[in-house]
Amino acid sequence: MFSYSKMLEFPINIKKKDSRLANIVATQYGGPNGELGASLRYLSQRYTMPDDITKGLLTDIGVEELGHLEMVGTLVKQLSDGECGEDWIKMGSWEYYADNGASVYPQSSQGSPFSAASIAVTGDAITNLFEDLAAEQKARAVYDNILRLSDDADVNEVIKFLRQREIVHFQRFGEALDNLQSKLQHKVVKGKGIKNCH
């Protein structure tokens, strides 16, 4: 089962309110390349993975992604805390405010609510790992986009940390893929987690 540690993985202290940036950053909370999808992708894929390394790695990265979800939620909260309607209008994010007020909601920056359609869980271990490698690159690219949209040093320090983690996860998934492919080749692991019934 899961337990919660009452701390962030990396400290967050945003000094300047910016509801527009909150709207942008929220996409990594519940958007197509965000942390909620990342966590659900890995924690769902692990049930059919055929070897101990991928079962363990997907569990551990899936859990870290929940910590990242909390970090992105913290960014949205601190950027928008207490901002009133006219601030959101002034900053051009009244659509976000209309549904959610100054709070944290899992949606893309364009307003699509979180959808599991943005994640793939195929039952094929190799396909899953390629999905994971692509997902880490996509999330890294979104953090790069956010860095180009934001000139807030406090926010960017946190975004850079999250971006780095995408790169580390990509590296680890690559190693797990190489390891599993080699085990399949040498028949140490049989099958990619799929049972053929004929």
Binding site: M1, D52, K55
Partner: protein, 84 residues
């Protein structure tokens, strides 16, 4: 005790402790409940420690207490072998 029996003791203590945690969330000044919570958490810690010594880590960082990295050892909790 078998591994499964030992684990079930932990699951019982953990459930009781967690249930009291929720109660305390809405009754934070209930001294009797807080004392019960303390006893349960203490027992749970001991049981977990004994279980881990015999059967391997329940939590990732506790795997540091072993001479080798046992965190990846099967079975994982969703597998039948872990629930027999």
């Amino acid at each position: 005790m078998t591994k499964q029996e030992h684990l079930f003791e932990i699951q019982k203590l953990n459930f009781a402790a967690y249930d009291l945690l929720l109660y305390l969330d809405t009754h934070p000044t209930d001294k009797r409940a807080f004392a019960m919570f303390g006893d349960l958490v203490e027992k749970l810690k001991k049981e977990k420690y004994n279980y881990e010594e015999q059967f391997g880590p329940l939590e990732a960082y506790n795997s540091a207490a072993f001479s080798t990295f046992k965190w990846l050892d099967s079975p994982f909790p969703w597998e039948k072998e872990a629930n027999k």
